[in-house]
Amino acid sequence: MTTASSADHPTRRDFLYVATGAVAAVGAAATVWPLVSQMNPDASTIAAGAPIEVDLTPIAEGQDIKVFWRGKPIYISHRTKKQIEEARKVPVASLPDPQSDESRVKAGHDQWLVVVGICTHLGCIPIAHEGAYDGFFCPCHGSVYDTSGRIRQGPAPSNLPVPPYTFVSDTKIQIG
């Protein structure tokens, strides 16, 4: 069809077809944008993900609590001297995901470990105070984390992530 009379006005015809096709393609692409963008978190979800404050006074030494921030469980452990020592004793280079304990806590608040309680393997919630390293044990596929939340054994590839947080006062942190 398109070649039947293209000898007459070859350029004008081609230009028209190409222009129409291009404009239609731009329109189609622009239409896809809102259809995909709507899948992202909506404004109320984003607003609900604002930082939270947690009071640390009720957490006794050797205990930990779980709070939720952005739908994720956050472990806050009040570590004992022994736990801190265990974490600092191990040569960093020997770890699967080498990170020093000091870099995972806030200076001057070494007893407080704050980590996202989601196993870095496939997302299960590890159990605190279990496993061979006195840290966390993930029951799903047997990953073991130490008292600094670092991976020591099992299929998980990396340490439990530390969420963004700051000490508002000695007994209060803000997560987020």
Binding site: A4, A19, T20, V23, P34, N40, A43, S44, A50
Partner: protein, 690 residues
């Protein structure tokens, strides 16, 4: 149908598939090589438009279902959250809601076209009946979809329509209980309607496949009504019909986009911005415009069962059309009498649509009965009779002859009939509007608003002052529960910074909890919190306000309106007048009279207001001069307060209005460009065919 396809792909991978599943061949023979009569006019593009609309509705519907909650307590709110919080949620919702109207608009033209050109006649009876089935399914789907937002019209529409089945003798009540899943319309009803509203479009899509299949077996009818005989009568579907359909679709999209971006509430009922309330029925239950003719037939018949039978009969009779009209000549072009009566019939349908929106009293009932009789007479008496007595004009020998005979001079009637149809549709759309006219209360004067028209934006100063008026005056009784403090800092809002919104929020005490001790506690508001309501529940609100319930103000400017009357509502469509709500509210706030006019009996505990329907309002005069102090030097007068607070509430009702209008402008520029390009491409392509 061109028989088994001779299409053969050259790519070896495609060849491999084609040998096992000849789908490319099927597509090629159905949509590329398929011979289409060369004399089709633009009325035939509505088939393509309908396919598009089905796709649009399914796509946007599936997306909306990702964000919607089908629960009686949450449905209304979830729709509001879609519009306010979901990325482009307002757009998707407008596309879907206006899409329903566009779908019906297109299907009515498609059906009238079939009627005019005799597209139901032998050998296309099954094709036609499948179409009637699709139409019935569309009506069911549209009705159930309208229930989902769970506003007042949703709820009462559901009640009235399901009660139609109670007319069935003996089993009526049981059928209705079965439909409801309870003793009244309630949560189980909403749940099943949602399920079916999701299901039925796919059933429609299935029947559409059969419809298209039947079409491809019988071949398309055409304006001449003679079958295609030789190669000269047809052109290949692609590129000829495809490019023509694309141009038609593009024009249609311009019309559609007008509603999406500029008149999103023109076709809806303001009453549906009030959450469903099983204790209060709205003054006028009016279905969506596309059901109005059948609603008029229902109401014209004074017997319950007979009314319901007539209403369904009005649709079912269409299925028998191929046998009611025996005339050998298909196209009304060559049937001088049928042609005239066709237009009379169109007028009858539009008249019924208009009456369906009027209150069922006086002259409306009588005219309704006459038109109902005429509607049925057209099918049951006139068409059978015409086929015997009418002497048709000779039809052309072939489609090719028809094309040759009318080269030139046919565009004018085409354009005029398009205009006539637009006006008629406007009349129908606006019919619902006039039902609200003259409900008591003076018509509020139209105000000048910065946010009206295609380029309208909110006046930031007015919004900030309005927020102050709301906070210091209205908030004592009225909630604003869909507005969050964070919204105050959003684009298109009152123009506060995030820090200002945060500070504003922290002035409020918000109930939170339970805490670790299991107790509720109060804390300062955060940006994510919503404006707290002054009363914990409706009962408390009523108890404190002499039995009246101060409505939540989040949606008040959209939930209040007044009829504009004929022909004003038609003009409104073109001028994009959408400000009935603000005009009403600003008038109401200033409409108090200390003394009711002589002879008016003001009930105890009420106040006289010029603009309130019925004039007796429970709310005491809320504003007086000097009540709120403005920091920006604006006059501290009731008139200024009213205008400011209304501006603020308009934004509260539609926080993304500015985004809507701005995107609308881009879409229009794009669509106009595309339409022009498609027009010339179409001309170029068709130049080869003539």
């Amino acid at each position: 149908m061109s028989g088994p396809s001779d299409f053969q792909p050259t790519n070896p991978a495609l060849k491999w598939i084609e040998r096992r599943l000849p789908i490319m061949g099927l597509m090629h023979s159905s949509f590329v090589a398929y011979p289409t009569p060369r004399n089709l006019n633009y009325w035939w593009t509505f088939g393509a438009i309908l396919s598009l609309m089905l796709g649009v509705q399914i796509l946007t519907g599936v997306i909306l279902a990702m964000h919607y909650t089908p629960h009686a307590d949450m449905a209304f709110k979830s729709v509001e959250l879609i519009v306010r919080d979901v990325n482009y949620g307002w757009l998707l919702r407008n596309v879907h809601a206006a899409g329903a109207s566009m779908f019906f608009f297109a299907v009515y033209i498609h059906m009238f076209r079939g009627l005019y050109y005799g597209s139901y006649k032998e050998p296309r009876e099954v094709l036609w009946i499948l179409g009637v089935i699709i139409y019935l399914l569309m009506m069911a789907t549209g009705f159930m979809g309208y229930v989902l937002p769970w506003g007042q019209m949703s709820f009462w529409g559901a009640t009235v329509i399901t009660n139609l089945f109670s007319a069935v003798p003996y089993f009526g009540e049981s059928i209705v209980t079965l439909l409801w899943g309870g003793y009244a319309v309630g949560n189980p009803t909403l749940n099943r309607f949602f399920s079916l509203h999701y299901l039925l479009p796919f059933v429609i899509a299935g029947v559409v496949v059969l419809h298209v299949w039947a079409l491809h077996v019988a071949g398309q009818n055409n304006p001449a009504g003679v079958e295609a005989k030789t190669e000269k009568d047809t052109v290949p579907f692609t590129p000829y019909a495809t490019i023509k359909d694309m141009f038609g679709v593009s024009c249609f999209l311009l019309f559609y986009a007008w509603f999406i971006f500029y008149m999103p509430n023109y076709l809806g009922d303001p009453e549906n911005y009030i959450p469903a309330n099983p204790a209060v029925t709205p003054a006028h239950i009016v279905p969506e415009w596309y059901y109005l003719p059948f609603y008029a037939i229902l109401r014209s018949i004074p017997n319950k069962l007979a009314g319901v039978v007539a209403m369904f009969g009005a649709i079912v009779v269409l299925a028998f059309l191929p046998w009611l009209d025996n005339a050998k000549t298909r196209s009304s072009k060559y049937r001088p009498l049928a042609k005239q009566f066709f237009w009379v019939f169109v007028a009858v349908c539009i008249g019924l649509g208009y009456l369906g929106a009027q209150p069922p009293e006086g002259i409306y009932v009588i005219v309704g009965r006459i038109l109902t009789v005429l509607y049925f007479a057209y099918f049951l008496i006139l068409l059978p009779l015409l086929s015997r007595i009418e002497k048709p004009r000779p039809v052309p020998n072939s489609i090719a002859d028809d094309v040759l005979a009318k080269s030139g001079g046919k565009a004018a009637p085409m354009v005029s009939s398009v205009i006539a149809l637009m006006v008629a549709a406007g009349l129908l759309f606006g019919g619902a509007d006039s039902a609200r006219a003259a409900e008591g209360g003076t018509k509020p004067p139209a105000q000048k608003w910065s946010f009206s028209g295609p380029f309208g934006t909110f006046d930031r100063g007015a919004m900030q002052r309005g927020l102050k008026v709301y906070k210091e005056v209205c908030a004592a009784c009225h909630g604003l529960s869909f507005v969050a403090f964070r919204n105050l800092a959003e684009a298109g809002g009152p123009g506060y910074s995030v820090a200002q919104a945060q500070a504003f929020a922290s002035d409020y005490k918000v109930k939170d909890g339970p805490n670790d001790q299991g107790e509720m506690f109060e804390r300062p508001g955060r940006p994510a919190d919503y404006f707290p309501s002054p009363f914990p529940n409706e009962q408390a609100a009523r108890a404190a306000n002499g039995g009246a319930f101060p409505p939540d103000l989040s949606l008040i400017t959209k939930a209040r309106s007044y009829g504009r009357g004929f022909p004003q509502f038609l003009i409104d469509f073109f001028t994009q007048y959408q400000e009935q709500g603000p005009d009403y509210i600003v008038a109401l706030l200033q409409g108090y009279e200390d003394k009711p006019p002589a002879g008016f009996n003001l009930p105890e505990g009420s106040f006289y207001n010029n603009y309130f329907p019925g004039h007796a309002i429970k709310m005491p005069k809320p504003l007086s001069d000097g009540q709120v102090t403005y920091d920006d030097g604006s006059p501290a007068t009731v008139a200024q307060y009213a205008k400011d607070v209304t501006t603020f509430l308009m934004w509260a009702a539609e926080p993304h209005m500015e985004a809507r209008k701005a995107l609308g402008m881009q879409v229009f520029v794009f669509l106009i460009l595309l339409t022009v390009l498609l027009y010339f491409t179409k001309k170029k392509v068709w130049a080869n065919a003539h």
